[in-house]
Symmetry: C2
Subunit: 337 residues, 2 copies
C-alpha cells in the first residue's frame, strides 16, 4: 500500500530520517577550488598513500566513512547497512572500501546520480523501520575514470570544451532515526531513464539535462511546490552545458529556476582551473553535498534544499556501438527545521 507517497512519483519520509553526520574527502585540485576550506580530509596528491589509483579511490571512501563516524561518535558496529557506489567497473572502489567493515553492503549503480540513490535507499531503510543507522557513500577519481572511460592519462588526449573533469573525491552521509536539529530527508523522487539521443561521450551535460528536467518537474508537481520555495536547487553534475540546457527547459515552461539554482560541477572548481565545462563523477556531487551544502544546512544558511543527482549511464562499449547515452536523475529534498 502506497502510504508513504504523494503524487505520482514522490516518496515522503514522515519520520524525518536525519543526516546524523557527513564527511567529505578531496584531492589536490579540489583543494585549490572555491570549496577548499569545506572538505574534511584533503590529500596533497591523487594517491592517498596507495600504490594504484583504484586503491586510492577505495582509500578515499574509507577516509570519508571513518571521518563521518568519528563526527557522530558512532562505531562500525552501530551501522546497519552501507549503500555505496562509484564509477569503476564492478563498483570496485566501493566493495574494496567496505571489505573490512563487516557491515551488510548493498551496491548501487547510477553513475553520477549514485549519491542521490544511496541517500534515497538509506532513507527508505530508516523510515521503513529496517535500520537505525545507514551509510550512504560514493566516490570518483580523475585518474581511474579517465583511463576507464576515455584514454590512459599518459596519452595526453585533448578534451573538448564541453567535457567535464572527474572530481577526485568522496562524500559520506550517516542517515539515522529522527534526531532533532539536524538536516533530514523529507521527500525523494526517483527518476526514470531518459534518452534524448546524445551520442558524444564527452557531452554528458547535454545527455543528463533532460533527465534532471523530468524528475524535477515530477517532484514539483507531486509536492505542489515551485523552485522559489527552495533556498537552493542543486544538480550534480550537469556542468556548464547541461545547466544552461536545464534552465532553458524550465524557461520554456515559463519557470525561472536561475535564482536559486546551482550545479555541484560548477561549484567545486573555479574558472581558472581549466576544467572546461565543470566537475563530474560520483565524488563530485557527494563531496559538495557533504561539505558546502550540508555545512550550510547545519548552520541554517540553507533550510530547504533540493539535491538532484544526475547520472549519464555511459558505457564505452555501447558508445562505440553507436548507441546514445541513457541518463537518470534522482531528487532528494533535504530540510532542517
Amino acid at each position: 500500500m502506497n502510504t508513504k507517497r504523494i503524487g505520482k512519483y514522490t516518496l515522503k519520509f514522515d519520520s524525518k530520517p536525519s543526516i546524523l553526520s557527513h564527511a567529505s574527502v578531496a584531492s589536490k585540485k579540489e583543494s585549490q577550488g572555491p570549496l577548499a576550506d569545506m572538505f574534511d580530509v584533503i590529500n596533497d596528491d591523487t594517491t592517498f598513500g596507495q600504490t594504484s589509483w583504484e586503491k586510492a579511490e577505495s582509500q578515499m571512501q574509507k577516509l570519508a566513512f571513518h571521518k563521518a563516524l568519528e563526527k557522530c561518535e558512532l562505531n562500525l558496529t552501530d551501522v546497519d547497512f552501507i549503500f555505496a557506489g562509484d564509477l569503476l567497473n564492478q563498483c570496485v572502489s566501493s566493495s574494496f572500501a567496505s571489505r573490512e567493515s563487516q557491515i551488510p553492503f548493498m551496491g548501487v549503480y547510477g553513475a553520477c546520480s549514485s549519491m542521490a540513490e544511496t541517500l534515497i535507499l538509506s532513507s527508505i531503510m530508516v523510515d521503513g523501520g529496517f535500520a537505525t543507522n545507514t551509510c550512504a557513500i560514493t566516490s570518483s577519481h580523475f585518474c581511474t575514470a579517465e583511463r576507464q572511460y576515455r584514454f590512459p592519462l599518459e596519452y595526453g588526449g585533448q578534451r573538448p570544451p564541453y567535457s567535464q573533469w572527474t572530481v577526485t573525491g568522496s562524500g559520506c552521509a550517516i542517515i539515522s532515526d529522527n534526531q532533532p536539529n539536524l538536516p533530514y530527508i523529507a521527500y525523494a523522487t526517483c527518476g526514470k531513464i531518459t534518452d534524448f539521443g546524445i551520442t558524444d561521450a564527452n557531452n554528458m551535460g547535454a545527455a543528463m539535462a533532460p533527465s534532471a528536467y523530468d524528475t524535477l518537474t515530477n517532484f514539483f508537481a507531486d509536492t505542489n511546490t515551485k523552485p522559489t520555495d527552495y533556498d537552493l536547487i542543486v544538480t550534480g553534475d550537469l556542468g556548464k552545458v547541461g545547466s544552461d540546457i536545464l534552465k532553458k527547459l524550465f524557461a520554456k515552461d515559463g519557470v525561472d529556476i536561475s535564482k536559486t539554482y546551482d550545479d555541484c560541477g560548477l561549484m567545486i572548481y573555479d574558472a581558472t582551473q581549466d576544467v572546461h565545462a565543470g566537475g563530474s563523477g560520483c565524488g563530485c556531487s557527494a563531496s559538495v553535498l557533504c561539505s558546502y551544502i550540508l555545512n550550510n544546512m547545519c548552520n541554517k544558511t540553507f533550510k530547504n534544499v533540493i539535491f538532484a543527482g544526475t547520472g549519464a549511464l555511459l558505457s564505452p562499449t555501447t558508445v562505440l556501438q553507436g548507441e546514445s547515452i541513457p541518463s537518470i536523475c534522482h531528487v532528494v529534498n533535504i530540510k532542517i527545521d
Copy 2:
C-alpha cells in the same frame, strides 16, 4: 527504529510482499539443459534478433519483464519501481532495457548476487509502504560476459575445469502487496563483503563460498532455524567447486546441509553440456528462480525456500593488479502458506 528486524542482520517482512508473477528467458544452451521446459521464453540463438550481444541481453530483460507483466495482467504504468542489475560495465543491459518503460529505476550492482539484492530492495519498498508493485530483474549473457571479463570469443581461450559458464538468461519477479495463495518474501539477510584471498579470476566458486556460509549462518541464527527446516536451500551460483566448499564449511560446524541443498549453477546444465563447474551470472540464479523454483512454489512442491544469491565482485582491472576477489551473498527466504 529497527522494528522490522530480528536478530542482528535479518529483515522481517510482516506484510508478506508477494511474488505476483515471475518469468524467465533463456537461450539455446540453457534450453538443452534439465530446466528446458520451465523457461517462459527461449531463443534459438544468442542474438534474440538483435545486432549486438549487449542489445540481445537488454532484449532478454525486456522479454522477461513483459512476460511477467502479461502473466499477472499488469501494465507498465502499474509498476512503481524497477530494481535491475547485470554484469556489464555500467549495468548497460539494465539501463537500456528500461529506457522506454518510463518507470522509476534503481540500478544495483552485486554481480551474481544481484537478483537477491533486487528482491530484497523490492520487498523493502512494498513492505515499507513505498510501493504497490515493483519489478526485480537481472540478466547475463555468455558472449557479453566472456569478452568483458576474459577474452574475445574468437580467441578460443581454454577454460580451466573449475571455471563456470555464464548463463544467457534473464529472470523477472513482480513484487506486490500481500496477495493470498502466492509465494511471499518472509525474511532477508543482507551480506557483508568477505574476502578469503582467492586471486584466480576463474575460481569464483571458491571466492564466493565463504560469503554464502557467512550470510546463511547469520540467517539461521537470526531466525532460530536450521537447514532441515527448509524444503530447498539454493545458492546462485557457487557451481561445483563452491558448493562442495560450502557443504564442507557447514560440516565443520556439524551441520549437514546436503539433504536440501542445491545450486542454480548446477541445476541449469547437465553433465553432458561441457560447462565444467556449472553455470554462473546474474541471469543464472534469476532464470532458475523465476522458472523451476517459483513454479514449484506456486504448485506447493516447495513451501519454504532459501534463495542465497552469491556474487564475486570480480574486476579484470583489480585482478591484474594482483588483488583478491571480494564476494557477497544476500539471502532471501521465500514461503507459501
